[in-house]
Symmetry: C2
Subunit: 125 residues, 2 copies
DNA sequence: CCAACCTTGACACAACCGTGGTAAGGTTGA
DNA sequence: TCAACCTTACCACGGTTGTGTCAAGGTTGG
């Protein structure tokens, strides 16, 4: 079969067979299959499984965090949007009177909604 | 009080008061407090609350995703580790015999652990 | 002063995550 | 052939997320 079966892979990587299937369903590591449908883990997969374990353990992450990181890599629109939110635009114009800021920022919000003229380029999945 | 109280903020942002406290506990938006302890939302917070809603809704994200994105920004070691895992080192040398690959990749694993000498250059945000 | 509003803390609940099991049935390889 | 292993599909269970509600008590502002 040229590669490890799921239980062998489990043993050498520290995951359980159950979790290997789960990791696969999460879209992180998808081994090729034998003709009969058996999962076959090659050295690459084994290595990635080990480093994945380290990664999650050392930084208190979950599988979905990695999934999200992949999305950040693959969807530039998403990455930009998230970055922009986090790197929050502080500083509203100082000259806006306190009594006006509600109107001001609502108007701004409206501007942002009304005027999406720049068609952000989409990268099809 | 110069600012909106939690229920007022809820109304203009589309969140519920409950969720505003939740968002705060998640470390995403922490309004200042009145002397008596009331949350006071200024225009900045309101704007961020609105854009946060859009962000989450349009991309099917959760609050923890944003928290994770913040960690990616603030912890370069984490960012690098995640990026390196995702951008997986594929391609093992073709000349490694099939019968040897297990030993080969374990050795590699060991090399990676033992020898972290090259401080990869950091791309500051 | 006092109605209206806020605070924290708790109970509740559906949905999902990470994990383990088990059952019914197909694959492998000696 | 056949034991040993694999597959998918389920049940289960504690923990977390997102959300609402309610109680007991403090704050605000007219």
């Amino acid at each position: 079969m040229d590669g490890l079966t799921i239980n062998e892979a489990a043993e050498t990587t520290g995951w359980s067979a159950r979790m290997l299937r789960y990791v696969e369903k999460a879209g992180l590591i998808e081994p090729r299959r034998s003709d009969g449908g058996y999962r076959i883990y090659g050295p690459e997969e084994l290595q990635r499984l080990r480093t994945l374990r380290e990664l999650l353990g050392e930084h208190e992450l979950g599988l979905n965090d990695i999934g999200f990181a992949k999305r950040l890599r693959d969807e530039p629109g998403l990455r930009v949007a998230v970055e922009e939110w986090i790197e929050a635009e502080p500083a509203r114009p100082e000259h806006v009177a306190t009594s006006d800021w509600l109107a001001w920022e609502q108007e701004k919000h409206q501007r942002l909604l009304d005027e999406p003229p720049e068609p952000k380029q989409e990268i099809a999945a």
